[in-house]
Symmetry: C2
Subunit: 199 residues, 2 copies
Amino acid sequence: MTRAPRDIEDLIDLMARLPGLGPRSARRAVLQLIKKRGQLLIPLADAMQSVAVSARECITCGNVGTTEICEICTAEKRAIGEICVVEDVADLWAMERAAVFKGRYHVLGGTLSALDAVGPDELRIPHLVARVQEEEVSEVILALNATVDGQTTAHYIAEQLEPLGIAVTSLAQGVPIGGELDYLDDGTITAALRARKAM
Amino acid sequence: MTRAPRDIEDLIDLMARLPGLGPRSARRAVLQLIKKRGQLLIPLADAMQSVAVSARECITCGNVGTTEICEICTAEKRAIGEICVVEDVADLWAMERAAVFKGRYHVLGGTLSALDAVGPDELRIPHLVARVQEEEVSEVILALNATVDGQTTAHYIAEQLEPLGIAVTSLAQGVPIGGELDYLDDGTITAALRARKAM
């Protein structure tokens, strides 16, 4: 079988390592790039080069940005007293899309996982404890995923923060907006029933 | 809502224009790129830059390569007498994966489409007719997609080539290997029945 020339195959192999693209769709994407050299391929190469130079992790919260301390941590309007703990930057962005939280964040960089040998020190958990001690924090909101690892991590963090005497809360669990009971799993229905509220 | 810094949003917007990636998965891909700056982001930027410089269309067949005439057209081992006509380079690659065709190709660059105002001149069809007249071609195999536009284009090309007195064939239609009748559409079953063969 004749493969595409070396350069192009190398690009396909790299593209196939992106989440959401497999080998077949990476091929399609590369053909598209070559077809749209001026509008897409060259701007994309430039944008990657520039992000490779400029992107960095915020030293305070672990968010991705282009400055030593990210825009959220430096924003004067945002409450200093509330820290929302998320697993990774994608979750931080999801929270920001909802545009309802006005405090600051702490990105763990994953969850505790015995299987993958991820302990608290791999996760910026000690950093969170130090932040709570140093800054004037009144509440830590644990916005971890509702998975086993996420909830294990939430409980571990709650334990670590307990001696510091601040409020530690977590996102409510229940029926998602627009959700139909018939399509929800038993766990969600159980959680929603247990946390039922007066109308 | 706080968005990611300009550089990063620009990269996300460009990534979202790739086929197979939407806005949400482009975000995920960009976070992955930033996380793997050394192993993925920088090599990918370099590979794109290099393809942007080197990639070009073969002047004979329209395949994508890094030379004026592509590897397939210059390969001595490949039959000169057979030309396989495909819609685009992805289809050429699909044919090559099957590793069964030993002739050369002609990439149309699309299909005739009244809706999108694509006529024969947009498609390298005149170029195909010229090739057949100039080269020692004995057979043109139309390997166009089994869609309405693909088949319309195949019929048009067959008409154009008729006066030249060479064999014009097309891929067989029927039950795909591993296909189960129960899951096939009526059109495929009809085509397979009409083209039935003695055992």
